[in-house]
Every structure is written in C-alpha cells, then in structure tokens.
C-alpha cells in the first residue's frame, strides 16, 4: 500500500467536509477499496472512515418503501426480518454477495458507489427503481449508474441511504462466475407500481435495464415470455468465463428463472 492518512467522521456533514478538504476518499466497508489499495491500484491520500456515522445505518419501513442506510452491511440486510418480509428478493440478493466474511464488512452504499460491473446491488437498486439519497440530493437509480465503475456521484458526495419501493413481486437470479463468484450475469426482475423492471448485471460495462424483456413480461408475466426474447450480444462483456453470446443467451434464461419463482 502507498502511505495515506485515515480520519474518522461522526456525521455525514463532517465526512463530506473532510473529503472536500483533503481530496480524500470515503471508506465504507472497504471490501473493494482496501483490496485495490493493497495491490497499489488505488492511491488515496486520505481515507475518511464512515463506520462511526450513526445516521448512515439501519433499516426501516417508510410507507411503501424500505429505507436502508448506506453503511448497512450485506449480512444485516440478508438477515433483516423487515427486508425479508417486504422485499425477500433483496434479502436473497444480499445473502448471495461475496461470501460470509465479505457480507460482514461490505455495505450497500459502498457497493452502489463503486458500481462494479458484476456487483449484485446495482441490479437490485435498478431493478426495484430505487432512489439513492446522497449528502446533496436524491438520484433515481435510472440516473445513478453511468458506466464502468462510474456513477452520478460528484466529488465529496456521499450515498446516505437508499429507498427501495416495495414491489408486488421481485426475484433475483445470479449466475456466478466460477472463480470470483461475482455475477457472470445477474438478472433482477420486479413487478413495480411503475411496471415491470428487469435489471442486468455482469453482462455489460455497467448494470442496465433489459427493455425487450420488460416489454415481453409486461405483455405476459411468464417464464416463457422472458425466455422467448433474443438478446443481442453486441456490447456485452466477453472474457475467459463467457463470451458475449453466452451472456446474451443467459440473460433471458435467468430472467425466465426469476419469473418462474414468482409468477
């Protein structure tokens, strides 16, 4: 690791100020950031540790939405009775992130802000049409994920909480990349008040909505309808674990499996 300083913040305002002052980076669970720093792939001069900020934690029901604090750990979401009752698909998604130890450290806010192209939470947020609350504003999930490891967050802007509208039905099916156990392809399907939403992770440079499958499922919310959709391979990721064609094939297959669990 390169040398750096670490500062602890006890409020969102203090954290944002520290980050602006130092040009530093926020440290949530650190499961991606510390790993990158160890490999000397990231070189922050200052880390601002968010772990002590009480207002970033917790899970609560707010009307027809679940509101989850940015520093809520994956294991907490997975185990939460509130989440399991309201959006079981989100609890299941959290239960499938990384492994037990990673889930005990990694956080919702950290995952969304990192926007790893193969991460699970972006699919959940986009699939449910979540609203991301930051230290400065609110951003619709549809506007949040901008590209490979890129989000709408500005410098010094922190995710504070995420509001997930409770869907009529939702399911997430993750097809794991056998080595990393990230999503080779992950598909989140939800019947929301705004219609059917299908979000895909792992397949592209960033999470995206599969409009063709959404349209098909709007007409007929059945596994057969999802599976009948042909996805184009162009623009999809290709690596030693799967060609773009394979990923394109998996998207409707996984969407159909998701639908099959809830239709």
């Amino acid at each position: 690791m390169y040398s750096f300083d670490i500062k602890k913040a006890d409020s969102v305002a203090a954290a944002a100020a520290l980050i602006t002052q130092t040009g530093g980076r926020p440290l949530a669970g650190g499961q991606s950031l510390v790993a990158a720093m160890k490999l000397r792939l990231a070189q922050p001069g200052t880390l601002v540790d968010l772990a002590g900020i009480a207002e970033l934690k917790g899970i609560r029901r707010d009307g027809n939405a679940l509101v989850i604090g940015a520093m809520t750990r994956h294991a907490e979401v997975a185990a939460s009775a509130e989440v399991r009752a309201a959006i079981p698909a989100l609890a299941a998604l959290a239960e499938g992130i990384g492994d037990r130890q990673v889930r005990n450290m990694g956080t919702l806010g950290g995952s969304l802000a990192n926007n790893d192209p193969a991460a699970c939470y972006p699919a959940g947020a986009l699939g449910l049409g979540a609203t991301i609350h930051t230290s400065q504003r609110t951003i619709a999930a549809d506007d949040f994920f901008k590209g490979l490891y890129e989000t709408a967050l500005g410098d010094g802007e922190l995710v504070t909480r995420v509001s997930f509208p409770i869907p009529a039905k939702a399911a997430y099916v993750k097809f794991v990349q056998p080595a990393s156990r990230f999503a080779l392809v992950g598909v989140f399907v939800a019947q929301t008040s705004g219609g059917v939403r299908v979000a895909v992770t792992g397949a592209g440079s960033s999470v995206f909505r599969a409009k063709a499958i959404e349209d098909a499922l709007t007409k007929s919310f059945t596994a057969e309808a999802a599976k009948a959709v042909k996805m184009a391979a162009s623009g999809l990721n290709s690596d030693l674990h799967g060609s773009a064609e394979y990923r394109a094939h998996l998207i409707p297959v996984l969407a159909a499996r998701a639908v099959a669990t809830i239709a």
């Binding site: 056998p178 080595a179 990393s180 030693l240 060609s243 394979y246």
Partner: protein
C-alpha cells in the same frame, strides 16, 4: 507384515500434529522471526518476452530504507538454476538445456521472470523503491502455446533451443504398433488437451535466509517439500558452497502438491544476498506473485489412437504429445512428460504394443513441472479417454471394455518399461461400481430427464507408478540424483524414540503415520515416539516428499533402521539374559528367550545400551541409534477405479458432480483416516482440473489472464459432492510395509472419470468431444456447436 506389527498399525489414530495447527501454534516459514531482518522484493518482468536494454536503479538505491539492489549482472559467481533430469532425444542427443539465470540476464522470457531484487528495511519501502527502478525493455513477439511455438517463424526464446524444442523423445516399439494398426478392426481416436494448472498451495512460497559471519554458514528457512535436495542443488550447482556450511529448514509447510519441490530463484538470490548485506532476508510471495512464479502443472496437447479387434480388445496404442515446459527448465520439468508419463500408458490394460512420442517445447510462460500426479494424470487422461472412446465406438459398456483388457497375471511387464508387481483391477472396479450404484443409474437418468437435465456416468481405471524410485533405473533414464530415502532411529536412554526422516510432511500427517509404524514395530506407546523432519541440520539425509513416496520409501527406510535397532537390541538382551543371540525373540516390546518366560523390556535394553555397566563392551558399541538408507527395487503401483456421475443443465451448460465413487488399492494401510483424507484432497484437485481450473495466457500479449483467484477458479466446498471411497488391498511385494502410496491417486484417476461422464451425458444432444475444464461456457458452446452441426447436416 511381520510378527512385530501390532497396536496402532492400521488404526485411524487421530493426528498428533493437529493440536498445534488448531491452536495457531504451527510454525510456518513466515512465522519465524530473526533479529535485524530486512525484506526482499522482486521486480518482475511485465512482458512475456523482451530484451533488457538497460536497468537504471540509481534513484531506487537512494530511496528511503533501501539496503541494496541487485540485478542479474550483480550476481557474480551465481550459476543458473539446474534441471535434475537429462532426457536424451530420439536423435541420440541430449536435450537442449538453455541457461536459467537466477535474475534475468539480457532477456526476460515470461511475465513474472524476476529481474531485480530490492532489499529494504520494510516491504513498503522495497515496493516504493521498485517503482523507481527503470528497466528499458525492447518488447519482442511472444508465444505461449506449444502449437504456435513449433510453427516456422515462431518467436525464439533461446539460442540454445532452435525451433523452441527442448527434445523429441520416444518410448515403445513403433514397428509393432504399426503392424497392429495395420490389422486392426477399428481405431478409436482422441485429440485432447491437458489443461495447464496452477498448484495454489494455500501457503504461498516464502523464505528467510541468513548468514553467520562467525562460522561462515548460511541458514535458510524455506517452504520446501525436500530441504536436502534444495540444499544439494543450491550448494553444488548454483552457489558453489560446501553443503557443510548450509542448513535448510522446511518447518511447517502449508501444502505443496509438487510446487514446493523445486529450487527457485528467490531463495537462491536471497541466500547469496544475505551474506552481502549481512542481514537475514525475508520474502513472502503475494498470491498474484505465486501465479506468475510458482511452477505450473500439466499443459499437454495429445493425439492418441487405440487399435482394437472386433471384441474391443486393445491391440496397440499410439500417442503423440507436445508438452509445454514454459520459459525455462524447472528442476524436474524434463522427466514429467517422459519418464513419469509415457511409462504409464499401459494403464491397467494388457495392450501388447505401445508407442509414444513426446516433444517438449519452450514458450513464454511460467516453467511447468510436477503438480500432484506429475505425468501420471496426463497418461491416465490419455488412456481412459481413449478407452472410453473404444467403448463408445463399438457400443461396449464402459466397465466391460475395461474388463476385456485388464491385466490379470503378475508380475506383468508392460510394453513401456515397467513391471507391475501386483494388483487386482476387477476388485477395485467391482467395488467402485457398487459404491456408485451403477445399477440404479438408469432410473436416476430418467428422473433427471424429467427435470430437463442430462445425467452421465464416467469411468476411469487408473494406475500410477509411485514410490520413486529405484536409483539405478532412474539413473539409466537420466536422473541426476539418487531417489532413495534415509531414516534414523535414535532410542534415547529412557526408552523414548526420536525418528529422523528425510521425508517431509506438509499435510500428509507423517508425524502420526510414521509414529504408528515405529510404535507398532517396537511395541511401545506411540506417545514416546517423536518424528523429526524438514531440517538438514538434524536429519542425516533425505530426498523429500513427492510422487506418493513417503511411506513406501521413507517409511521403509525407518523400518530398515528399526530392524537394525532390534538386531542390536537382541544382542544386548542376549547378554542381559545370558542366552544365545539366536534364541532371542522380539515381540510386543519385549526381548524374550524363546520358549521361556525370561525377557527384558525394550526400555531395559535401551537403558543398558546407554548405561553399559553390564554390557558386552568387547563386542558391541554402547548406544542405540541406527540409520538406514533404503533404495527401492521397483516402483509401487497403486491402482483403482473412479466413477463420476454428473448432471448437466443444457440450458446454461452447468455441470454438477452429483456423485463420485472411488475404490483404490494402495497396498497395506497404516492409517485409514489419513489415507481417506488424501483421496478426498486428490479428488478435489482432479475434479478442479476437469471442471473449474484453467490457467489461461493471452495469445497475443503473453499476459496471464487467469492471474488471481478472481479468474482462476479454485474448487470450493459447494463445488464438490461427498465422495464415496473404498479400498481393496493387494500388498506391495517389494517393501516390508506392503505399502504403495496414496497421495496422488485422487488427482490422477478423477479427471477422465468426470469428462467421460460429461461426454456420456451430452451424447444424447450430439456432443462428441469436450476439453477440460468442462466450464458452463464450454459445455454450452459444445451443445450449440452440436446443434448447429446437426442442423447443417440436416
């Protein structure tokens, strides 16, 4: 087994080493601490192939905390790393053996080739300094696979190896094979790739090298499977030091699987440098460094053909293999695809004629050497894939095609230079079929089909040559060292027994198994037996642990030393009991005058040896401490049958191993619990090879694509089923323990069983071939290709 065997032999004694491992008290190389340590860090080539124009380390030398910086040119008097086995080619010439510098000289030949050693106070300082070293590279075209490397005009790695050839070597009677093919009813053919693997012991390689000015000696703690071999190679071949001045200690070692047999560049450079900086030097590989610096395994491309008669009887086997040895010859690289490979191509079958030609090729990749099984998994994969193909082609059931060809008369001389001493292949096949519930397979397959899944069953009847090795045979085949083992048994005055063994335990449980042998043979409490290994300063000599040799060879050396102890003990007892030596019998820890109740306990005899007040000093030395070297007269031949059952989701290509049965014949078993554990571990590695693991280089850049656990799929608990394992015993005929070895069988037998099962499952959708690993992507592609083929044909 003799009359002296009793007590713990054959029992599932719980391991004595576990207490320290379970409480965090194990002492691995990186747990050893010395005063005034500095850190070593290796700056490695980022390129697959490049000429080094210049290295500028001026700024780096001035960086904070830097103690010293060395390049290949600085290592004056340091020779290249040696290869321990000379292969003579079909042209009668010795193999091409280009230099393997400890730090690169003039050129780098693979990503990860060490170029500069930086010594600094802390690792962070060493890494900071490394970023200031400027290496000016002229990047050259690279070649990473054997097919490309043999093409005319391919990039040339070494001037000493024209066409990138190391050797072309052959074994067997080509004329006899040609004749058999000419009259064959059918020829079954397979084209197979044995995928390159990364060993990935969970403990990364590490070293702590120090120098003492007081007696001009060196001490090296290192993650090694064979510290004496490490010392021998390092002193005699590379550094030109007397062995008497070097102590190599391999303390607790966290797994090896072959990758810790070899003499590596890092510890060699550190030994040399520890004197120059007069400080102990520590280096621990980071995992990403392990991927590009630990010797890899396998990497063969093979075409094989089996000629058969109308009944499926094997008439002749013809095999052509191209083996990737990587950028340089690692310590035993040359003998793996030859001596440990082609000699096993008879398998369990009475194939009358076999011919194999092997071409070994240099490429811009990490050196390839032995990895669990070493040559024998590659041979088994060839034999069992082609045997499977015979069954498929002729419509003969897979167990039946094997039975029609089994060897049943022993000793059996194969057409590929080995003599099998004993075996019972029907017994292991029968038991494996029972464990696998082959009879119920059709019902399970039909049930799976109802769920849209494809079930398949695959067989593999393997054999291996273990217990390496008769030194005279090995020497005639090119070995540059002996392959015996040493054991010393020191009976202490109060009867406790310290055993010094040249075998090395890095997970195998020798501290328990060997103690069982000693306690059983001497009829004493196992708690009074201490096993010492892994230290050239304490152990007379040793060749180390690999090739499933520890019990068969290392254990036998201990038995031979025990025999000497008992023989001397009889002399002492005869004196104490005032009887003739010939009348003394030893059993159950007592020396008894035959036919009487007059006896002396083992402990009394030991005490008399060390307190020789009433002792035949005129005829016998005091003390009870004996050493034996044991050189085996033959290899041992563990064998068995593995049966794998898979279920494939044709929609996604996912293969699940739903059941795996293995029945093995390891000869006599000392500790069945440990043997079963060895089988489990081997199976996991073999299944890993067939299902998950693949080391992939980018063909144009030569970069290692699967360079971390993010891309190299290690088998996890949920990738594997619970194995059903069993054993059958035909004792080895030529060592006193009757033991054959069990460490590698799982990794040898399982890959073809799994792939044959996948092919069986996919037969119904028209897939005829698949390469390892049978990843979801690859299975899906095979299904698509078969569908397209069917469509095109229709």
């Amino acid at each position: 087994m003799g009359a002296n065997d009793s007590g713990p032999i054959g029992q599932a004694v719980r391991r004595r080493e576990d207490q320290r491992f379970l409480t965090g008290a194990g002492q691995y190389t990186n747990d050893v601490v010395m005063a005034r340590e500095a850190c070593a860090y290796f700056l490695r080539s980022p390129h697959a192939h490049a000429r080094i124009r210049s290295i500028d380390s001026k700024d780096a030398k001035a960086a904070p905390g830097v103690v010293a910086i060395y390049t290949g040119e600085d290592l004056v008097g340091v020779n290249g790393l040696p290869c321990g086995w000379l292969i003579t080619g079909t042209d009668g010439k010795p193999m091409n053996e280009p230099p393997h510098p400890v730090l690169a000289k003039g050129k780098v030949r693979h990503v990860g080739d060490p170029v500069v050693m930086i010594v600094a106070e802390t690792l962070n300082q060493a890494k900071d300094a490394a970023e200031l070293v400027v290496v000016d590279y002229e990047v050259l075209p690279s070649v990473v696979n054997v097919v490309d490397a043999l093409k005319p005009g391919a990039p040339q790695l070494h001037d000493e190896a024209p066409g990138n050839r190391c050797y072309t070597w052959a074994l067997g009677d080509q004329a006899a094979v040609d004749a058999a093919f000419a009259k064959a009813h059918h020829v079954a053919k397979v084209d197979i790739v044995n995928n390159r693997l990364v060993p990935n012991a969970i403990e990364p390689r590490a070293a702590l090298a120090s120098y003492s000015r007081a007696d001009e000696s060196y001490t090296l703690y290192v993650t090694s499977q064979n510290p004496h071999v490490e010392r021998l190679l390092m002193t005699a071949f590379v550094l030109g030091l007397p062995e008497t001045k070097v102590r190599v200690i391999a303390p607790d070692v966290g797994g090896g699987f072959g990758s810790k047999i070899y003499l590596y560049a890092e510890e060699t450079a550190m030994m040399w440098a520890s004197k120059h900086v007069n400080r102990p030097l520590r280096w621990v590989a980071e995992r990403s460094e392990s991927f590009i610096s630990d010797a890899h395994g396998r990497d063969h491309v093979t075409h094989a053909e089996m000629a058969v008669d109308k009944d499926g009887k094997f008439l002749a086997l013809r095999v052509t293999t191209t083996a990737n040895v990587g950028a340089y010859l690692s310590t035993f690289a040359s003998c793996i695809p030859t001596i440990l490979y082609a000699t096993l191509l008879a398998g369990q079958y009475a194939t009358p004629a076999i011919h194999c030609e092997v071409t070994a090729v240099f490429t811009n990749t990490v050196p390839v050497d032995a990895y669990r099984g070493a040559g024998r998994p590659e041979a088994t994969y060839v034999v069992e894939r082609v045997a499977n193909q015979v069954g498929v082609d002729l419509g003969i059931a897979q167990d039946e095609v094997r039975r029609r060809n089994f060897i049943r008369t022993f000793p059996y001389v194969t057409p590929v230079a080995l003599t099998y001493d004993t075996g019972n292949y029907d017994a292991t096949l029968d038991e494996a079929m029972r464990l696998a519930d082959v009879a119920g397979f059709a019902v399970r397959k039909a049930e799976a089909a109802k769920r849209g899944k494809l079930r398949g069953l695959g067989y593999s009847s393997y054999i291996e040559a273990c217990g390496l090795a008769p030194s005279n045979i090995a020497g005639a085949l090119g070995a540059r060292a002996g392959l015996y083992e040493a054991g010393q048994v020191r009976v202490n005055p109060t009867g406790g027994v310290t055993v010094f063994t040249g075998s090395h335990s890095h997970g195998q449980g020798h501290e328990t198994t060997f103690a069982q042998v000693v306690a059983g043979r001497l009829g004493i409490d196992i708690a009074s037996v201490e096993i010492v290994h892994g230290d050239t300063g304490r152990i007379p000599f040793g060749m180390g642990t690999y090739g499933s040799r520890s019990l068969a060879v290392g254990g036998t050396a201990i038995v031979k030393a025990l025999d000497k102890i008992v023989a001397k003990g009889k002399k002492i007892a005869a004196h104490l009991l005032e009887a003739a030596e010939a009348d003394i019998e030893f059993a159950d820890g007592k020396f008894t005058v035959a036919g009487t109740d007059r006896s002396k306990a083992f402990g009394e005899v030991a005490l008399a040896a060390y307190v020789p007040h009433n002792y035949p000093l005129d005829k016998l030395e005091p003390g009870l401490d004996e050493t034996a070297f044991y050189d085996p007269t033959n290899f041992t031949y563990p064998a068995g049958t593995h049966i794998c059952e898979v279920e494939i989701d044709p929609e996604t290509g996912v293969t699940e191993v739903v059941a795996f049965a293995a029945c093995d014949d390891f000869g006599n078993i000392i500790n069945p619990m440990i043997v079963e554990g060895q089988v489990h571990g081997g199976l996991a590695q073999g299944i890993g090879q067939a299902l998950l693991e693949q080391c992939v280089y980018d063909r144009s850049s030569g970069q290692l694509v699967s360079g971390s656990f993010m891309d190299y799929a290690m088998p996890r608990a949920d990738d594997l089923p619970s194995f059903k394992v069993g054993t059958k015993v035909t004792p080895c005929t030529h060592n006193p323990l009757g033991a054959k070895g069990c460490g590698e069988a799982g990794a040898i037998g399982s890959p073809p069983a799994l792939i044959n099962a996948v092919l069986d499952a996919l037969a119904s959708v028209g897939v005829k071939d698949i390469q390892m690993p049978a990843s979801p992507h690859r299975v899906w592609q095979a299904i698509q290709a078969a569908k397209a083929g069917t469509a095109a044909a229709a």
